[in-house]
């Protein structure tokens, strides 16, 4: 090992992707160093080239479609960029390992986790048989999997998302690498689990003394974990330096925008006197579990189990909780998009038991915006067709010119050009698509909108723009929101009152200001600590 030099040294790296109508320069002139035992964070929005940079270190890009016109990547003094495939394979998984974002697809569903860890050990260390088994147990214990011995025979689907990510980390650590590349390892996880994984990575780094290249779009994580930070935008590093300095005195305008991107808390005040828009009492959504030959119902999955909420006009009710807590199901049930039990009262009218046709006249007033900006717009319809659809259903007699006018008004209101209506969803970025979804809901001039994690798939800067947009619309149109999210910072920015859900039940509720200041239950406290300070809670309070 070159003793004093950096562990990894990237100089003037460029990455070009060739496709059938030209070339895209994904990364250009990127230079940075990682010293042994150090954590360097690559920060930037999606498409800024941070993952591409990290993948080129291990030559994992789709060559020959990708190429490097210039640059050098030196690891312990050895040039990696032009190393032949059989030699780079010895580096991968041995000296440099990688943990990916998606724990659902990174593990092979057909092999037990024991087999998958043993494979790594055999490939790189030549360890087999009982020795490999012992080492696997040791690794799983190290990453905090309880009952590691018993877990060896488990298949990936039997583990939770957080546990899967722990297994991925165990596999990455199997050969005690000098450098761990973590490519958004916590983005797909719940806040509570995210905090645990971050703590784990920090602990392991302290114990094993490895360097980490941490890729993320979340500045909170960077603050928590990284010593140095490189801010990337459009394929270039616009600013790099000591993490504390960069955050305290950002030099580049983009970095400043990024640091300021945290949505400002300015929620609509709670309105205890305003009329109730939506109210439900002891709402239940139970999915039957059927077993055996006669498909008898042996039990129920209680997605929503006796929830009572009321949303008043002009206010935003934030619904928070981990994934699987039933918050999305609650939103869908309130709009009667899934069957439920218990009264739902909308503007004084009971909705339960109405037929599809009878429901239609209420649908105009209650709309929904979904989480996934890529899945919620039909790829085969133009933006005009998408936004117009509700008008066809609810105002079929409106003349075409008037209809077009309304579509344009809705698009303008969400901050899109009127010309966008001739284009198709795939031409838009995630944030723009989310605006289109919002326009589709707004064109009917509803009074109540369920927002199902509308910001969680978006980059930080776009997120805070979206929050501002939602807030502006609420003020202008006196809208009532049910805001579902696991991202507490966004909820804090928008919600007048908050409901905390866990296992289908309401754990705690109250005005947002009070709740955020003084959470009453231990669960809420753990949730808040994880979200705002990335602190993991003690055993047993939150899911593993």
């Amino acid at each position: 090992m070159a003793n004093n030099g950096p562990l990894l040294s990237v100089r003037d790296l460029a990455v070009v992707f060739r496709h059938h109508d030209g070339e895209t320069r994904a990364v250009e002139g990127v230079s940075f160093d990682i010293n042994p035992g150090e954590t360097v964070a690559l920060v930037g929005e999606s498409g800024s080239g941070k993952s591409v940079t990290a993948l080129s270190v291990l030559k994992l890009l789709p060559y020959p479609a990708a190429s490097h016109p210039s640059g050098s990547i030196r690891f312990k003094g050895q040039e990696l960029l032009h190393l032949p495939e059989h030699k780079i394979r010895r580096v991968r998984g041995n000296d440099i390992t990688i943990v990916f974002q998606e724990p659902m697809t990174s593990l092979n569903p057909l092999h037990t986790i024991g087999q998958q860890i043993a494979e790594i050990l055999e490939l790189h260390g030549g360890v087999t048989g009982p020795a490999a088994r012992d080492r696997a147990v040791e690794l799983l214990t190290a990453v905090g999997i309880p009952d590691a011995q018993g877990r060896l025979g488990s298949y990936p689907h039997q583990l939770s998302g957080g546990q899967r990510q722990r297994v991925m980390i165990a596999m990455a650590l199997a050969n005690e690498p000098d450098l761990l590349i973590a490519d958004e390892p916590t983005t797909a996880l719940d806040v509570t689990v995210q905090a645990q994984i971050l703590t784990l990575i920090k602990d392991l780094q302290a114990r094993l003394g490895m360097a980490i290249l941490f890729i993320t779009h979340d500045l909170g994580i960077v603050r928590k974990i990284a010593q140095r930070v490189c801010v990337m935008k459009a394929g270039r590093i616009v600013e790099q330096g000591d993490a504390a300095t960069v955050f305290a005195q950002p030099q580049h305008p983009y970095t400043r925008a990024l640091v300021d991107a945290l949505p400002k808390p300015d929620p609509a005040p709670p309105m205890p006197q305003a009329p109730v828009v939506v109210k439900t009492d002891d709402l239940k959504v139970w999915f039957p579990v059927r077993r055996g030959f006669l498909r008898r119902t042996v039990g129920h999955i209680k997605a929503v189990d006796g929830v009572s909420v009321a949303v008043r006009k002009g206010e935003t009710l934030g619904v928070v909780g981990e994934s699987g807590s039933g918050k999305t199901t609650l939103g869908l049930a309130l709009l009667r998009l899934i069957a439920s039990d218990g009264p739902i009262v909308f503007m004084g009218h009971g909705l339960q038991g109405l037929t599809f046709r009878e429901m239609r006249r209420y649908r105009r007033d209650m709309q929904i915006v979904f989480q996934d900006p890529y899945g919620s717009l039909s790829p085969r319809m133009s933006v005009a067709d998408i936004v117009e659809e509700g008008l066809w259903v609810h105002h079929p007699t409106v003349p075409p010119a008037e209809r077009e006018g309304r579509v344009i008004r809705a698009l303008v209101e969400v901050g899109l050009e009127p010309e966008t209506r001739f284009r198709y969803p795939h031409e838009f970025s995630g944030g723009q698509r989310q605006r289109i979804s919002l326009a589709r809901a707004l064109v009917l001039e509803p009074s109540f909108i369920v927002l199902d994690e509308p910001t969680s798939a978006l980059d930080m800067i776009i997120q805070s723009q979206m929050v501002d947009l939602l807030r502006g619309l609420q003020k202008r149109r006196e809208l009532t929101y049910l805001f579902i999210s696991h991202d507490l910072r966004v909820v804090a920015a928008l919600a007048s009152r908050v409901v905390v859900m866990r296992h289908g039940k309401v754990v705690e509720e109250g005005p947002a200001a009070e709740l955020f200041k003084q959470p009453k239950t231990e669960y809420t406290r753990a949730l808040f600590a994880a979200a705002f300070d990335l602190e993991s809670a003690g055993e047993g309070v939150v899911a593993q």
Binding site: H19, I368, F370, G405, P418
Partner: protein, 388 residues
């Protein structure tokens, strides 16, 4: 609020119209698909060649016919290819339709200073060549020796083989021109295949859509029904039915339809099962859009991709089925031009290889073209094909 309304009113006036390409509204997606289709050179040229052959065969009456398409007689014009005229029109004796190949009728017309414009091949699929130089099946005229042509040529008053009305691909065992039968046979095969493909896709897509969209008991019962239905040995049933009913074009179509519609059901059902959980379907439900609209506007376009990919292959298998039935003698009624019948004649007359070879190459080339087109269509609809 006021400001927004005003700006949007202004922008509405200057709003550009929906972009169009060559008069046809081609979405970016379809334009890309067309590019991908063209990028598969083999499939693209197969498509052009096949369409050329098909369009030409649609005008078979003007290419191979035993009636001229224009007759000038006594200063007036007649169109025998389209209208049937009695012999008396041209001064003949009988009220029956004029046989323009009959030297007597030809003489009547030319005597009055009239003339006839013949198609390039003067035989229709059912014209028996009565002036064969050799016993039927007679080889292609260009394979005959002058000695063989001599008697016929003398009788017709022309010089040698070159003066005869040529049978480019010889005749079958009833003295009918093979090329004429090939052209008509190709047309009927493709038309039959197309009709069967379209109708069975319509039925199959509808059935699959209902199953996939509604799911539950509808799906379960329908699936069991299809399993039982497909386990019926269809060939035997076809043989039995075609021996009871007189097998015409439409009867055959109906019989084959009974079994061919199931091929797409599973595919469309799976697409719908997948598609109905998409968030934009949920969004449409939240807008209060009805089931039928959701099926047609949102789900069907998705399912159509898979369906379109399959169509050329269904077309080729439909053509193959018809050919097979004709070959076995259970297909189109006797006398109809058909490739299967040509093949079976080739089998019965091994001493006349032009029958078997023509039939073989016609079927082989047609099916190969369809398969190549199918591959190109599959490429065109492949979403991963964008980044190569």
């Amino acid at each position: 609020m006021d400001a927004t309304t005003r700006t949007s009113a202004e922008t509405a006036v200057v709003a550009t119209p929906r972009p169009r390409v060559a008069g046809i509204k081609l979405s970016a997606l379809n334009a890309r698909r067309w590019q991908n289709f063209k990028a598969n050179r083999r499939g693209y040229w197969s498509f052009i060649l096949f369409m050329l052959l098909f369009v030409i065969s649609l005008f078979a009456e003007f290419i191979a016919n035993d009636k001229p398409f224009l007759v000038e007689y006594d200063g007036r014009y007649y169109f025998p290819a389209l209208v049937t005229y009695p012999e008396t029109t041209f001064g003949g004796e009988f009220e029956t339709a004029a046989d323009y190949r009959d030297p007597y009728v030809q003489k009547l017309i030319t005597e009055k200073g009239g003339s006839m414009l013949w198609p390039p091949i003067r035989y229709s699929y059912d014209t028996h060549n009565l002036d064969l130089p050799t016993p039927a099946p007679s080889p292609p005229t260009w394979l005959l020796t002058e000695a063989q042509c001599q008697p016929v040529a003398e009788r017709k008053g022309v010089k040698g083989c070159a003066g005869l009305e040529w049978n480019w691909l010889g005749t079958d065992d009833q003295g009918r021109d093979v090329l004429a039968r090939l052209i008509y046979g190709f047309r009927i095969s493709v038309l039959f295949g197309l009709t069967l493909t379209v109708v069975s896709s319509l039925v199959g897509v509808a059935a699959g859509a209902v199953q996939g969209y509604f799911g539950g008991w509808t799906d379960l019962l329908f699936q069991r029904f299809i399993e039982i239905w497909t386990s019926i040995p269809s060939l035997y049933l076809l043989l039995i039915i075609s021996s009871v009913l007189v097998p015409g074009f439409f009867v055959l179509l109906a019989i084959l339809l009974l079994f061919s519609w199931v091929s797409l059901v599973g595919l469309v059902r799976a697409e719908f099962l997948r598609g109905r959980n998409f968030e934009y379907i949920q969004a449409a439900r939240a807008l209060g859009v009805g089931n039928l609209t959701i099926i047609f506007r949102h789900l069907l376009p998705n399912a159509m991709v898979a369906t379109m990919t399959f169509l050329p292959f269904i077309l080729s298998s439909s053509v193959m089925t018809l050919t097979a039935l004709d070959f076995l003698g259970f297909g189109l009624p006797p006398g109809s031009p058909s490739l299967g019948e040509l093949l079976s004649q080739g089998k019965a007359n091994v001493q006349a290889p032009w029958l078997g070879l023509t039939g073989f190459f016609a079927v082989a080339i047609m099916l190969s073209l369809l398969i190549f087109i199918g591959e190109a269509v599959r490429d065109a609809f492949d979403p991963r094909k964008t980044f190569r």
